[in-house]
Symmetry: C2
Subunit: 478 residues, 2 copies
Amino acid sequence: MSSGIVHDVVVNPNIIEMEYAVRGAIPQRAAELKKEGRKIIFCNIGNPQALGQRPISYYRQILSLIEDPGLISRERQLRKAIASSVRDASLMMKDDVLDKAEFILQKMESGMGAYTESRGPAFIREAIAHFIDTRDEVTSEEGVYANPDHIFLTNGASDAVKSVLEMLIAGPNDGIMIPIPQYPLYSATIKKYGGVQVNYYPDEDSGWSLERRALDESIQAARQQGVNVKAIVVINPGNPTGAIIDERSQREVISFAHENNLAIIADEVYQENVYDGRFVSFAKMLGRAPVPLFSLHSVSKGFYGECGHRGGYLEVRNAPNIKGTSANFIDILVKQASVSLCSNTVGQVLTYLMVTPPAPGSVSAASFAREKQQILDDLYHKAETIKEAFTRMEGIHCFGRIGALYLFPRMDRLPANTTDFDYCMQLLDTTGLCTVNGLGFGQKPGTHHLRIAFLPPAEMLQEVLPQWIEFHNRYVNS
Amino acid sequence: MSSGIVHDVVVNPNIIEMEYAVRGAIPQRAAELKKEGRKIIFCNIGNPQALGQRPISYYRQILSLIEDPGLISRERQLRKAIASSVRDASLMMKDDVLDKAEFILQKMESGMGAYTESRGPAFIREAIAHFIDTRDEVTSEEGVYANPDHIFLTNGASDAVKSVLEMLIAGPNDGIMIPIPQYPLYSATIKKYGGVQVNYYPDEDSGWSLERRALDESIQAARQQGVNVKAIVVINPGNPTGAIIDERSQREVISFAHENNLAIIADEVYQENVYDGRFVSFAKMLGRAPVPLFSLHSVSKGFYGECGHRGGYLEVRNAPNIKGTSANFIDILVKQASVSLCSNTVGQVLTYLMVTPPAPGSVSAASFAREKQQILDDLYHKAETIKEAFTRMEGIHCFGRIGALYLFPRMDRLPANTTDFDYCMQLLDTTGLCTVNGLGFGQKPGTHHLRIAFLPPAEMLQEVLPQWIEFHNRYVNS
């Protein structure tokens, strides 16, 4: 038995072919350089706390209290015990923090260590529905209320995307429309489940707006090749573009989906990252139109940036019935979720906290608002600083309003026979700045881009931006 | 736009057909009864904390501290501040708890809120490798050391099973051997990825031992139908049987896999739930045999029972190369993991705590050991109590040593034209006891079983077991 070799194995070809640039060749090179002792600034991924963003205290104190069931009463006992001897009340947790933790533990019934209902605890799904209705200013005459039973808590938004695409892709001719550029979770997942990626092209020069003609061209080309298009993905605010889709474009997508019998998958994980305007959800724009809608949200982005906790939700509207069965899409999503038992409870609670901020006037409201505003202001300021640096780089253009956590500039003057991949590799080697080249997200043939997450601390940007400008102007003239 | 209907949609047929009994019809009925105000004892699932098992304090205090980065230093400040005024030192966290939390936060670098490496942080994978080597008493002459780079942290074991099966099932003729009865995660996942479920039958009457002949018959029958068998799943200790596989059976599986060029998927999530013997891992038994081995472990079971936190790991040995490429299985697993970015950080840290218990003689060692032993003793005692009740039920036989969290008795005297499904539904309606019938796990045709998780508090068992005995003896004689 100790002799012999391990035989080669045939593996699912879709997984072999799948690509995922955000953690691809450039970040891998960056990790190697870091091991060699180089200082690397990881702007390849929207991972705010890895670049020093501090978690929101209110969230974390509550998570802390619910993990250790004895801590809440201990905190109250301690407070009495030290009232006379300790002046510094800031050492103690605030009353509303203790109350909220206690409330959550009571609602979770079995605490953080038990499997929950597969969809997630009912009280959290109800809070999410209320959050959506409030955000979208739903009134009974006009709008449609969110249904807690059509909400699923997930391990981040990635899980939700996978569940939906895995169901919609029923055969090798089933196609999913995705914007180009796109977040490679979509291309990877479509590939993985053996579907067809159907590209459509937002108009870069007009701030990545969506024209009906571009959508029609895309679906017609796909149909000519025998592709059965099932859904259209929209990412708003955009990833990698950072662009915010205007309401006219949203209406175009909805009427297009309606006429062509498509579901809409609305990736809205950056809905809090709208710095100089307001976010309008696809659910709100949809109103009573009979179009299936799958909306995603997550605790990873926004001002919370709690990527590591893997929390998020999927909300479904107009869930279709399943052809040839008596089942509805929701039933099958529930069954699918049940095989993984449930999403992680801490991510669930963070999602609950995300949708139930401290009430105005409550003890924690002011400090919460201050921390939140500081983070959002910082992000916007950093984005503007980088955008300003672009004006000093030859042939760089960056379109659209600032949204999400990314800038996606176009580079019009790369030397002949070089690609944005070469550029980003050289940029990494020269300055330590790790970005992802445009091809990793898809782009119009003949164009070159890169995506940078605007997350590094201001001091770091002050240091690296002049180096980038110098590198760039040398590179494009070489 | 407000007119029209939502069209039916065609959905991946594999997901439609997939079944998952553990959260199937009987538990759904139980949930309804509970809503109506009935008292239900949920023994359909291994969810210890839902039935009152308390979390290990050491684990939870550390989780509590790492969620709120300010708490460690605050705890130290408070201790000084109150030293003179508070006598009750038990209010404060122990030194080694504070130190360990501090160590973890320092190792996590960006805290709990950042995405980690896709496989999980290196320090945790190293600790897991060390845990495996210690558990398996590896010496350099004989054994093979675990490789931290071949370990993947996952959201519970379910995720790991899915990743591996999704890769191994490369086409509709690819088959996976699973024991009957089995944990339905396996049948569901094989179905989902469009592979063929190939049953093999451990011998119930000899305590679920594995005979080479049963394995040979299974693979030959599959091959005659054109099935290309890729791997064999073993669950040890067993789920649903609770049986512990003896070393002779382990050797049979390994030589069978070797000769037939199969990978072994060893589900070892119940490795701490061996109450009157010791656990021997497949990695240890494998030694230097060139058989690909995928071993799973999880924080959900054992004495920890931290189901809700969704932590676990996959360890790979003898990872095969991928036919037709220059890639190894590990490379593709890394890519696959990267699309989900990473598993949840709290589950990662709990996995770390699971593999690094307090050192003997440390401040927390005694209380940790006491809590652990109490839980394991309770579980064993409850299993014996239920087993004893079986002796008073006509025609019930329960084979094998007690392991895992389950008993899987055979019911030889069900009335003609009734099934174990009918029995379990009636049992639920009559006593409030929610179990899962044998068919949900698969069983030899003509036999009837049920699975019960031996988790309810002793008082609850005292109350319900006499009712069950009465119900049973009436049922089989009806």
